[in-house]
Symmetry: C2
């Protein structure tokens, strides 16, 4: 009677959802302040004041129809020029407005890219640990997700494992740095190595292999870590950006895809992106927010809370005996679980009302994700509990 | 290298796009005021002041994270309660928030519905003349669009023709009233007749047949014409609503789907809608606009301009010798072209810089669409040109 697959996708409870509901139940029992919910990637830094000011200015200055009317599908041309200029100033690139396609956030940007590129039999590669929606999105456009095992010592790329995953069916490779869930930032060396392998395989297979660089966490990179701008290292790159985390606007759904001129057949790729956006019914990215991001182009993200939280939590976990890669960016840590079964570990953590997400959900067992986009004070109060949890395993 | 179908869908110029570009070219040559562009369905009534005020109030009163944070996928629960209550007050229905699923406008609402319902081999029925994107959306989810020929004398439903189109593969019937492009409003008699036939066929085939009621023009119905609320006549109805035309917010992408309790297997349908929204990457409807529509629930649309324009244009066209169904709603007229080939007719109209859309684009040849959501003064100045055009054919 309905599309069973859609029913399944719409109703099967994710682990995170189940944890969330457990948290709500516990909050009712023991009080909100005694539940330590590290499960959600919802930015807790308030939307910057300059964003609000931009909305007020636009409403005060412009005609309603110019604010709220349809834009052309790729987005307001002037907005795209402004954003291209801002990207160019920052990364020394040479984009124009025509290289940008505005989208309803990064989920739309990456899925539009998948759908634009996917031909029957195509494979898309993700590096574990990875954002679980990648599988849903890739499969929904008819592609196959191929997962490269993690390199748990630093969560950079295991190139030997990567090369084994490349086949003539490889259409694209998903890069997500700063990474959800590992918190790692790919080094320049990693991006260069990746680009070199891909260029070799492009030659060998005689067709382009794209990098889809999913960059919602680009602005959240900590001191000492630079996020290489992938198109400068590899021509066949689509950059998928979102303002969800950088300006704390996740509900508004605004972002973009960059399609460089240097990409194999710009016209084909950009045209297919327009077609994919059309059938995914993203008529245009929300029009007020298009104007807002143009006015806020180049404004910095306030990441001080994430810096502080990341350091505090990392130190606390290490002191408690956890093994964990240092926080480099985004707002996640991905420590090793204290028993190989990360589901069992996360269940045990619930005893202390510590709500953690098993690494298996991200394609990397024996780990767990801690989202630290929460109050610093909550993290402080959680540290003794992590110690108690660790002590159980030390017995 | 890319999905060819997406490339095609993203680059093939629509007739309306081609007309638009011709209009831009002519405006540069003869001046903006001498081009009579009746091709675009972009509301020209300004967004109501109360919408702006709602945005300002929300920004002034609420915490940024409560305004701009993710909502759950179906939309803010409080917003949905408010909207359900408003619908109930208006139509005597009995919906709760759980019956609503907020979407990024009507295009998303109808396509999410198609994708939620479509199983292999399914057919979706549209009545000519119809919004051409229906074909693109239905085919993109793997369905087949079946078109019932028009009933040009009044653009109600030709029931005999309709019955011939129903098969055991019929999954749903698309109703769009007030109609784009005909400007007709389905009478209560039409909706009752439709419901009766469908109930019979449901029994005969032993499975539900849904009505997808696409209602972006619901508020734009003229004196003497009432738009029946379809769920009151037929249980298996999904209502797809948008604020694009009612509040002149087409760029902001905000609307909803109503899923009545009475629908066959509410849980299955609502769950499948959630799954379809997920894979179409509508993470949530834009969050600020969710709050805005809740604050503006039940506020009236200003349709006075459309009333005036519709009457003026209708009278002018009839005086010039055109045959045309009276304007009943939306902001379109769909007169007969003065030669059977509506493309040739619209080409000829260009001589007078009258930009019209051939009816064939809407599945109904021998007609043309005139969108009158433009300045009244432009319509006034166009009438002598329609007369000259008609005079050519009278010779």
């Amino acid at each position: 009677m309905v599309a069973e697959k859609m029913y399944e996708l719409g109703t099967k409870k994710s682990t995170i959802r189940t944890i969330f509901e457990f948290g709500r139940k516990r909050a009712a029992e023991v009080g909100e302040e005694n539940v330590f919910d590290f499960s959600l990637g919802n930015p807790n830094v308030p939307t910057p004041e300059f964003v609000k000011q931009a909305v007020l200015d636009i409403l005060g200055e412009m005609e309603p129809s110019a604010i709220h009317g349809y834009t052309i599908a790729p987005g307001n041309p002037e907005v795209r020029e402004v954003l291209a200029k801002s990207i160019n100033e920052r990364f020394g690139t040479n984009f124009a407005g025509k290289n940008l396609f505005l989208t309803a956030g990064a989920a739309a940007a990456i899925t539009i890219s998948f759908k634009a590129l996917c031909e029957p039999g195509d494979e898309f590669i993700a590096f574990a640990p990875f954002f679980p929606e990648y599988r849903c999105f890739v499969e929904s456009v008819g592609g196959k997700l191929v997962v490269v095992p993690a390199k748990p010592e630093d969560f950079q790329i295991d190139f030997a494992a990567f090369e084994k995953c490349l086949t003539p069916q490889t259409k694209a490779v998903i890069v997500n740095s700063p990474n959800n869930p590992s918190g790692a930032v790919y080094s320049e060396e990693t991006i260069k190595g990746l680009a070199e392998i891909l260029r070799g395989k492009e030659k060998e297979y005689g067709h382009p292999i794209f990098i889809i660089s999913d960059e919602p966490y680009r602005e959240i990179a900590f001191e000492g870590y630079t996020v290489p701008y992938v198109p400068k290292y590899y021509a066949n790159t689509l950059v998928c950006y979102s303002y969800s985390k950088s300006f704390s606007l996740p509900g508004e759904r605004i972002g973009y895809i960059v399609v460089p001129d240097e990409i194999a057949d710009f016209g084909k790729v950009y045209g297919a992106i327009a077609g994919a956006a059309r059938v995914l019914t993203h008529v245009n990215a929300p029009s007020l927010w298009q104007l807002v991001i143009a006015r806020c182009a180049g404004r910095p993200s306030d990441i001080s809370t994430y810096v502080k939280n990341g350091q505090l939590l990392y130190q606390g976990l290490v002191d408690a005996g956890f093994k964990c890669v240092k926080p480099q960016g985004a707002f996640y840590l991905f420590p090793q679980s204290l028993e190989p079964d990360d589901y069992a570990f996360c269940e045990r953590a619930k005893k202390y009302d510590l709500l953690l997400v098993p690494g298996t959900d991200f394609g990397c067992s024996g780990h767990f994700r801690v989202a630290y986009c929460i109050k610093t004070e909550t993290i402080e109060r959680s540290l003794p509990l992590f110690k108690k949890l660790a002590a159980e395993y030390a017995q």
